[in-house]
């Protein structure tokens, strides 16, 4: 992962990145390498952007790094889901009615043949969890991106343009935040019929308002700052000031929010499919698997527990990582876990 500077360093109108919040470690810019005995003028003093500082703090955070590794493993599992089929010899939707079900037609517990047991149709739960990871991660990332994109644009416009635009957009934000999200989302999906696109759109459509509200608040105070005035006196257009001057300053809170939004979105997607509005069967999907398992939780605990553990591990890893990201950008903030 590399940290890309959010603006062109040669751009004289761009805000200095030191305007960003983390001021706590500002002296670190000037801290020489330990053990360097040369006089100060002779040393090479490395300039570190707040982005680099944040990354360095994040890298020292053991919990966040472990979570990152777990997230990486889940991503690998999703990408190489076909490999699990190759190893076990079980395609995700193949129903092993002879070997995968007990004589009474019940799911089989974990064995050397089916590592995490089978489901009610005699399918391999391990392989289906691997394929289900694709849906969760895809929806989690896509819906979060959409949410953040809409939220930032609306929040920027409302906060920067002010006046009637702001009043209108602020009311719109209030309106969307007052809609009972889950109810309407379920109703919508039931009308349009479930699909990956619909799930992403529905989640994005109802979640942007919270981002917009945060961004608007930040922009309201940023637009009064001197660097905006400077940019305007140099003749910069509104659009340029919004996207080139102000935007980099709101990226930090937006990144923090986005990293904590991913696990929420993953749970919402799983909830929709638990309620029967996920992807159409037989596509493997964690929420749908748990929903199927509900009828068998007294006879086949593995059917419910393993997809549930996969879901829980994913959301836990993302939450711990997101918390680390928050701490890296704002070391004074309250940590949830250390």
């Amino acid at each position: 992962m590399s940290i890309v500077p959010p603006h062109d360093p040669t751009d004289p109108t761009a805000p200095r990145l030191t305007d960003l919040e983390p001021k706590a470690e500002a002296p670190a810019f000037l801290t020489p390498e330990a053990g360097d005995e040369r006089p100060l003028q002779a040393r090479h003093i490395e300039g570190r952007s707040p982005w680099l500082l944040a990354w360095q703090r994040l890298r020292r955070d053991r919990v966040a790094m472990v979570s990152l590794v777990v997230i990486g493993l889940i991503i690998l599992l999703a990408i190489f889901a076909p490999v699990t089929t190759a190893i076990t010899g079980h395609p995700p939707n193949e129903q092993y009615r002879e070997t995968g079900l007990s004589p009474d037609g019940l799911p089989l517990p974990p064995s050397s043949e089916f590592w995490l047991g089978t489901d009610d149709l005699g399918r391999d739960i391990f392989v289906r969890i691997a394929y289900g990871a694709r849906v969760s991660l895809l929806v989690g990332v896509a819906a979060t991106l959409m949410t953040v994109l809409i939220g930032v644009v609306v929040g920027l416009a409302a906060g920067f343009l002010g006046g009637a635009v702001d009043t209108l957009l602020a009311r719109l934000i209030d309106l969307v935040l007052s809609i009972p999200f889950l109810l309407v989302a379920i109703a919508l999906v039931s009308i349009t019929g479930p699909s990956l696109t619909v799930t992403v759109l529905v989640i994005g459509f109802f979640s942007w308002a919270a981002v917009a509200r945060i961004v608007r608040g930040q922009v309201l105070s940023l637009r009064e700052r001197e660097f905006v005035e400077a940019a305007r006196s140099l003749g910069a257009s509104d659009r340029r000031i919004m996207f080139v001057d102000i935007m980099p300053n709101i990226l930090a809170p937006v990144i923090v929010y986005a990293s904590l939004l991913i696990p929420v979105v993953i749970v919402v997607e799983a909830t929709l499919s638990y309620l029967g509005l996920g992807l159409a069967p037989p596509t493997a999907d964690w929420g749908g698997m748990i929903s199927d398992a509900q009828n068998y939780y007294t006879t086949a605990w593995w059917f419910m527990v393993f997809p549930g553990m996969a879901l829980l591990m994913t959301t836990l890893a993302f939450n711990l990582f997101g918390d680390g990201v928050r701490d890296a950008f704002d070391p004074r903030s309250d940590r949830i876990f250390e």
């Binding site: 209030d174 039931s190 939780y297 250390e338």
Partner: protein
């Protein structure tokens, strides 16, 4: 204050009207074939048209909307498509169940969250603080339906198998059946709801308490020789509660529409379960009624929180 109240109520009404418009448009513009479903497979086009006319579905949409709005203002939300029962009656039956769930769950998570938050804040970064935050984060990451199923597996199934049939596998027993059966049916749903939500409150209380404990007046209180337990409960917690009450109001308002999952896991026939059933059979009047009611809960909760804020902090009234 009167002006602030008036403006806040007017805004709430405007939002409710917009939501009714949006919801109505959403569900009525979408292609639906309720009349055909109701008429049965062998119905002639005439029968379908007749049913359509009886339900008022042959009217132009704007006329249907005005009709609906006119009646809704007088508390009439129409009749359900299948049994011709008034929607308000269906909702009145489901509401006590949802309220039992929300009230019990909210009390548990508030007490648990605030208690854990205060304990965490008293000794920040101690072992207790870390354990409590780990506990909170674990349940915060837990999907509600998975937690519900785990509770059912361990506390209903395993306990019953072991010979202690304390908890039922789901369903609802009204208070008129007695307090104990009602409690037995509600405890697991309450904890499912509460454990997931308590995390936010633990964290909020901890942050708020840490801030307040650093204030001068807390130091003054200690300097006066007041017992530490009294400083924490009377002096610090009291002012630390403001953000918590705000969040609580918003969450409880949102819960009326958010208990869908818990009600589904435990087959509680409350508003959430009723709406899922209505959605599955395209029973539009019921869906619209419940969605509007749930939105009303959010809007009212927001107004109450704003008023609470305005009473506490006069500066808010100006904005």
């Amino acid at each position: 204050m009167a002006r602030f109240l008036f403006r806040r109520l007017a805004l709430g009404l405007l939002i409710m009207w917009l939501i009714s418009l949006a919801v109505f448009a959403l569900f009525f513009i979408a292609p639906n074939d309720v009349a055909r479903t109701l008429a049965g497979r062998q119905a002639t086009p005439e029968t379908v048209a007749l049913i359509s006319a009886r339900l008022g579905l042959d009217q132009p949409i704007w006329k249907q909307y005005l009709d609906f709005l006119g009646k809704a203002i007088h508390g009439d939300l129409g009749y359900d498509y299948y049994h011709q029962v008034p929607v308000t009656e269906i909702m009145a039956q489901a509401l006590p169940i949802t309220l039992s769930l929300v009230a019990g769950g909210a009390i548990i998570w508030l007490v648990m969250g605030v208690f854990n938050g205060v304990v965490s804040a008293i000794r920040p970064r101690s072992f207790v603080d870390r354990s409590l935050t780990a506990f909170a984060l674990f349940f915060y990451s837990m999907p509600t339906f998975f937690l519900g199923l785990l509770l059912l597996y361990f506390l209903y199934y395993q306990l019953t198998v072991a010979g202690y049939p304390i908890f039922p596998p789901g369903g609802y027993a009204p208070l008129s059946d007695g307090f104990w059966p009602w409690l037995q049916h509600m405890i697991l749903p309450w904890f499912t709801l509460a454990l997931v939500s308590a995390a936010t409150y633990t964290r909020l209380t901890r942050a708020s308490m840490l801030e307040v404990l650093g204030e001068d007046y807390v130091r003054t209180a200690r300097a006066k020789g007041i017992r530490e337990s009294r400083v924490i409960t009377r002096h610090a917690l009291r002012s630390a509660m403001t953000p918590i009450v705000t969040q609580f109001g918003i969450d409880v308002g949102a819960l009326v529409g958010g208990v869908v999952v818990t009600e589904t896991v435990f087959s509680l026939p409350g508003l959430g379960k009723t709406s899922i059933d209505a959605i599955n059979q395209q029973d539009l009047p019921v869906i619209i009624g419940i969605v509007l009611f749930a939105s009303l809960a959010v809007v009212v909760a927001n107004i109450v929180v704003d008023i609470f804020y305005a009473v506490l902090d006069p500066r808010v009234r100006l904005h």
